[in-house]
Every structure is written in structure tokens, then in C-alpha cells.
Amino acid sequence: MGPLIAYEIITENTNLFFAFLIGIGFGFVLERAGFSSSRKLVGVFYGYDTVVLKVFFTAGITAMLGLLFFSLFGWIDHDLIYINPTYLYSTIVGGMIMGTGFIIGGYCPGTSICAASIGKIDAMFFVLGIFIGVNIFNETYPLWENFYKAKFLGAPKLSEFLGISDGIMALLFVGMAMFAFWLGEIFEKIKKPVIY
């Protein structure tokens, strides 16, 4: 039955419409959960507020369990799900740049849009920075191209890499999430609470 676009149950335009509705919902929930505050967001790096870790890890394990159960019931064909290909070096460097930008700017790309939309000036500058960065990357792309495409690994899954089933991997991942949440709460207790 699924994925819906691959089986042409819905068209790409309908898909964009659904994406628009889901996007609005996502933005609304992010804002209501306090993700438009850069102090709350960067709290995860200083250890006084680990809500970012909790939210995104929870989203991850929910989607993961959902996909696995849907596949079990025959509702979705995992072979038809597009997985972003991995270019190892650019993933590592890109992750570092993204993390640095997150700490300095106080937002990640999605939450910056969210905060800019409720009128936060720092977030507007952050969004401007994203556009400048994207343009610099585009203009100088020939310089980076070889590095960007180095160490191509295809679209590997962690479970395939470790040689275990998707289900066992999911269990390990859920265990990891629970451990991270517990660790996060310990840090929150040690650190002085920050008022914002």
C-alpha cells in the first residue's frame, strides 16, 4: 500500500499539499514547545535543558517503531523508501559545521524559521546567514566537489552495517534513547537552572 507516492495513490502535488499541512503543524508544535527560544535550544549543549535531545530522539524512535510496525502489517514497503545516500567525509564535516552554527547562532535551520516567524530578530539574522552560506557553497561548489563526493557509501543502514536485524537495532536504539534521557535529567539537576 505505501509509500503513497511511489504507488501513485497520491500525486506529487497532493504530496506537497500534505507536506504543507504537516509543516504548519510541525512549526506550530515547535513554537508551542518553546523551540523558538535560542536559550532553550542551546541548553542541550551546556546541559541545563535537554528538551531538544528528548524531542528529536522521541520523534526518531516513534517514526522508527511506526515504520517497522507498518512494514510488519504489510502497509509499507521498505524497499521503496528513499534513503539519503551517505558521503562519509561531507557528512562528518557538515555535521561539525551544523553543530558549531547551532551553538553560536542558537538555532537549527527549522527552529530559526519558527522563531523568525514570531518576530525574533536574532532568528531573522540566522535565516539570512543560512541563505548567505548556501550561496557561498553553491558558488564555490567546484572547489569542494571532490571532497563533497568522497567516500561514497551508498545508502547503508546501521543494522546492515552491524549485521543485525532492523528489530534488534530498534531495540538498541530505544535503549540508547532512554539512557540518554536519564543522563540528560542528571545533567539538568547538576546544572543551575537558567531563567528565560
Binding site: P3, K54, L171, G175, M178
Partner: protein, 207 residues
């Protein structure tokens, strides 16, 4: 209760279940056993020798005869324009493009209908369409098209019309004079139009 504990209560049992069950490898488009039985019993897979003879003579471009006997038998005798896919190789990736398509009418044939029916059931179970079976197989083909027997004088006119058609068809297809056994060299046909498959679509997204 802390949200963390609540989350653990829900997700850990679910993760345990998913870790314990085997991965689902079934695909949604397959027929169920009862659907297949119903189709097989209704005989929708059969094309009569007369229909096939007519299509061959009229050089119907949509017709694709597929001989599911082994290569030796195929060499000895085959129908004009037939290609050879031995039943044992039917699941091979090389043939998938010929079997899973929507451009042609594939007709499986063997000596009887046993092998061709098996081929049809396998392809049908895989969800492929446009595959059919020659009714009665080559034995019945030889009996009806190559060496048709004249109907009794008292038979209705339709029987005579059918006999005349068969006699003509048999001649056109090199039968009638008992020339069964001569082999027509069949050329390997180009791969038919590939059926449109669900495709992966690239998505954009991030935090």
C-alpha cells in the same frame, strides 16, 4: 510520573515486540491463496488453439508465445515466433522483463497444460498480469490445428466452418501434411515495454 518513564513504558515493549518478530518480506500486490484458486478454477487463463492460430496467422503483434518446456524439446519443435523460458528458470531475473509487462499477451505452452499451468500460477502469484495458457497444450494443438479431423456429415454448420478454418490454419502453419516436428528458428525478440514500477522519490527535509 515522569514523561521519561511514561515514554519508556510505551516504547520499550513495542521495541521488544519488533525485535522478536521476523521481518515482513511479503509484498502487498500478491494474490491470496483463495483468490488464486478462484482464478485457476474459473479457467480465465486459457486461450483456445483456434484463437492462437488466428493470432499467429494475422501476425498479431501483441502475441508472445512462451515455450515452458526444456531447451531440447524446444529445439525439436516450437510454435512460430515462440521464445523458450524453461519452467525451472521462470524466476530468473533475465526473464522478469518479459513476464512482468503490460505490452503483450504472453501465452505459455507445453506438451499438455501441466507445465504451462504451473508457469501461469507462479507468475500470477507474483502479481504479474497478461500471462495466459494455451488450452490443451501442444498435443491438443496438433490434434486440432495441424491434423484436424473432419466433422460428421450431420454436424452443424459451425463445426464445418471451424474445420475449414483449422484446415487453412494448419496449412499456413506447416501442418496438415503431417509435417509436425519441423523446427522453425525463432529469433530472440526485443524486450517488451517494461511495466511502470513504483519508484523511489527523493525527499527533502531536516530539523
Amino acid at each position: 510520573m515522569k514523561p521519561r518513564i511514561l515514554l519508556a513504558i510505551f516504547t520499550i515493549p513495542l521495541a521488544l515486540i519488533i525485535a522478536a518478530v521476523p521481518e515482513n518480506t511479503t509484498h502487498a500486490f500478491k494474490l491470496t491463496a483463495s483468490q488464486l484458486l478462484e482464478e485457476a478454477n474459473s479457467g480465465v487463463q486459457y486461450y483456445s488453439p483456434d484463437e492462437i492460430a488466428d493470432m499467429i496467422i494475422n501476425k498479431d503483434p501483441s502475441l508472445q508465445l512462451i515455450d515452458v518446456r526444456n531447451a531440447d524439446e524446444f529445439e525439436k519443435f516450437n510454435l512460430p515466433g515462440a521464445m523458450n523460458i524453461p519452467l525451472a528458470d521462470i524466476l530468473s531475473k533475465d526473464w522478469q522483463g518479459y513476464l512482468d509487462q503490460d505490452g503483450r499477451i504472453n501465452i505459455f505452452y507445453s506438451n499438455g497444460t501441466l507445465k504451462s499451468d504451473k508457469a501461469w500460477m507462479i507468475t500470477r502469484q507474483l502479481g504479474y498480469e497478461n500471462n495466459y495458457v494455451l488450452l490443451g497444450g501442444l498435443n491438443y494443438w496438433v490434434e486440432t490445428i495441424m491434423n484436424p479431423s473432419a466433422p460428421k456429415n450431420t454436424s452443424p454448420n459451425e463445426e464445418f466452418a471451424k474445420y475449414d478454418f483449422r484446415k487453412g490454419a494448419g496449412k499456413a502453419l506447416g501442418g496438415s501434411a503431417g509435417a509436425v516436428g519441423e523446427s522453425t528458428t525463432s529469433t530472440k525478440l526485443p524486450m517488451p515495454m517494461i511495466k511502470s514500477k513504483p519508484k523511489k522519490k527523493r525527499v527533502q527535509g531536516g530539523c
